[in-house]
Symmetry: C2
Subunit: 201 residues, 2 copies
Amino acid sequence: MNKGFLVIISAPSGAGKTTICKRLLKRKPELVYSISTTTRKPRRGEKTGVDYFFLNKQEFEKKIKKNQFAEWAIVHSNYYGTLKHFVDRNINAGRIVICDIDVQGGEKIMKVYPQAVKIFIVPPTWEELEHRLRFRATDTDNVIQRRLKNAEKELKYLKKYKYCVVNDSVSIAVKHIESVINSEKLMISRLKNINNFFKKG
Amino acid sequence: MNKGFLVIISAPSGAGKTTICKRLLKRKPELVYSISTTTRKPRRGEKTGVDYFFLNKQEFEKKIKKNQFAEWAIVHSNYYGTLKHFVDRNINAGRIVICDIDVQGGEKIMKVYPQAVKIFIVPPTWEELEHRLRFRATDTDNVIQRRLKNAEKELKYLKKYKYCVVNDSVSIAVKHIESVINSEKLMISRLKNINNFFKKG
């Protein structure tokens, strides 16, 4: 059995990260999706342990105090976070955990898991990203400008990652991520049964 | 265009390295095979620049003195070596160069090319390697014993490499090496046009 590991996938908004992660998990059911914990109310059909782990504010804050989160943040007045316990349990069982996370969360989680595989998804060019962000036609100019500024800031995080996957085509991007994961599994530092190859006694 | 790089593939004798490298190069004609230089006489049908670069002893020794080899060795009274110029020229043109080399040569060449991708091929288990080496039935017990001792020594080089590919099936092993090469191409440290993704001006 190989050692398990964490894969952190981040991207600037508009790069297509979530679509790619969903497709990846569908193609490789042996990968474990890192389920976030949140204090936001479950939407219709959402189940705890599937979509999110749902906690109330008090429970969440207790876990923050006990340092049980690999990262957490407040978004629109709700807490969101990744429990170390969830990641550790799966990694220790030899599984590969896929964490689809924004750049700020990614930066925090890679401090807790320095051995994680860090993948950054980018659009083919800045012009293409601009085009995609502008294309959501319902938005006002103000919203678009803010989004572009944001994407520009997010892109600067690229250098904190190890691999860069260009999302020109979703299916090719997914195959690239599969290559990265397969290749990382072959790293000698991730091998468990290295002594199998050697003469006994 | 990506940066080119060198891939060093080594293995203990009997692991099936040469078969795997041949298959890999057939499947991926864009990869460049690292052609060795030698002072041994060309065999029937061998061409300089295809099978080897053939030089006489004097020419070879001149290049040694000029420090033009990334590695060289004497085998059965003939010189064999890898010219830096050949590797550099291809890497600088953005190509990926595959160097099929024994562990001693591998150790030398990785000092000259520390950024190289280092792959070690192993048999599934020590018992399997022993079986394969014994199976060449024409050999005397002495020859077999020497070969096993050698393989044991060669296996110790594993830890100098980054990736370990188990040769249980040749076609799977080749696919694993393809994954590694693809994945290494996606490494941010190997990207050339990183500024494409950023806003201009």
